[in-house]
């Protein structure tokens, strides 16, 4: 079963899986990577960035474009989405993966933000999410719209937050769906951890 949430072509998607790189460049060419500059500028000694640093990093690198910078909670969510070692921080490779995913979502958002206002309405949001492959029940769409819209509009920042949550939940589920049938047996403790780590 194919799982949704992959960004549209053009956004790229690192099949990655590297851990965070401690300290300086871990392989030749990393230092020349333009993204490494932004990362290193905020990362500090340990080569890991936390939510505050990620917020600064993404703002400086211009991913939000003309839109206002990501709020801290969204940054925290993004870290938890890729934070494989549960450290609450991202290494450079995880950061690159994040960048690629968010770039994809940005392209996607832009294609639905027809008036370039930086917001989409409920219908556009539903279409955008369905287009990404998320099969959402009507109750789910209602809950999402209620949570993320202000005066009926959803901003880029909130759209990202929504995508991050949906993707993180999907990842959570997919990792446990060992037979790839679209069903998982959850133990209580595991379910709680899964859901509350989002």
């Amino acid at each position: 079963m194919a799982f949704p949430g992959q960004p549209a072509p053009g956004g790229g998607f690192y099949q990655g899986g590297y851990g965070g790189a401690p300290g300086g460049p871990a392989f030749p060419g990393q230092a020349q990577d333009p993204l490494y500059g932004y990362f290193a500028a905020v990362g500090g000694q340990d080569g890991q960035i936390d939510a505050d640093e990620l917020q600064r990093c993404l703002t400086q690198a211009g991913i939000a474009g003309a839109y206002k910078p990501f709020n801290l909670e969204t940054c925290r969510l993004m870290i938890s989405m890729l934070d494989r070692d549960m450290s609450g921080t991202l290494g450079f490779h995880e950061f690159k993966e994040l960048w690629a995913v968010v770039s994809g979502w940005k392209q996607h958002f832009l294609s639905f933000d027809s008036d370039g206002s930086g917001t989409v309405d409920r219908q556009e949001l539903e279409k955008a999410l369905m287009n990404m492959g998320f099969r959402l029940s009507p109750q789910a769409v209602t809950a999402i719209t209620r949570r993320y819209s202000t005066h009926g509009k959803i901003t880029f920042d909130d759209y990202i937050a929504c995508c991050v949550k949906l993707r993180a939940l999907t990842e959570c589920f997919r990792r446990r769906d060992t037979t790839q049938q679209g069903f998982v047996n959850f133990q209580y403790d595991d379910f709680i951890q899964c859901v509350m780590s989002i």
Binding site: G88, F173, V195
Partner: protein, 221 residues
């Protein structure tokens, strides 16, 4: 008054696999008590609405910066602080507005605010109870203890996860009041959602991808 029930004072007996009912009163029905009436912003300082604590009233007036008669998430955030003087985080404020917002307007009136303050005070008392070393925040051990006393049966990894996610990045991360409230409320919601599906009470449920998404999205956002 029908507002969400207070957190418990002690532990609950007879726990099924995932712990018993942690809290007394379920649900958050519309509040009874006196009708809100035309409070508006025009009332002079002296006229405390019936059923509202005078201190809560003056606090409300101070927080309701635009005198609209309602408090938004943003205004609420300014009013609530943790022991380390950080303002309550957005998520907790949103959760609280949703809980005490009778008509889904995204804001609360003076009655909602008054009830919210009582609710927070009860949580604060509980928080202070679990903060055994009175440090102002809850450590790993204290969090484990708190969950056990609330009747939950959860692994240490779970507490570890919460501290990594919500604690500060120090040698011994700990949780502030706002996150503690948020965590406990989400834990209750999630447990309720799980229990709804686990009709046989075996501590295990089989979920399709869509069911899983719907369950979580409708309860956790």
């Amino acid at each position: 008054q029908g507002f969400p029930g207070a957190p418990p004072g002690g532990s609950y007996p007879g726990a099924p696999p995932y712990g018993g009912a942690p809290y007394g009163q379920p649900g958050s029905g519309p509040y009874g008590g006196p009708q809100p009436g035309p409070y508006g912003g025009a009332a002079p300082g002296g006229n405390v609405p019936p059923g509202v604590d005078p201190e809560a009233f003056s606090w409300f007036q101070a927080v309701d910066a635009d005198h609209s008669g309602y408090i938004s998430v943003k205004e609420l955030k300014q009013a609530l602080v943790n022991s380390n003087w950080s303002t309550f985080n957005d998520e907790t404020c949103l959760l609280m507005i949703n809980m005490f917002d009778k008509n889904r307007s995204g804001r609360i009136d003076v009655y909602g605010f008054s009830a919210l303050l009582r609710f927070i005070q009860q949580w604060k008392n509980l928080f202070q109870q679990y903060d055994r070393d009175q440090s102002g925040s809850i450590s790993f051990n204290e969090l484990q203890q708190a969950f056990t006393q609330m009747g939950y049966n959860l692994s240490p990894q779970f507490s570890q996860l919460l501290l990594a996610r919500y604690g500060q990045h120090s040698p011994s991360p700990s949780i502030q009041l706002d996150r503690f409230i948020h965590i406990c409320m989400q834990l209750q919601s999630t447990t309720d959602a799980f229990r709804e599906k686990d009709t046989a009470l075996v501590g295990n449920v089989r979920l399709s991808y869509e069911d899983f998404l719907t369950m979580v999205v409708t309860r956790m956002l």
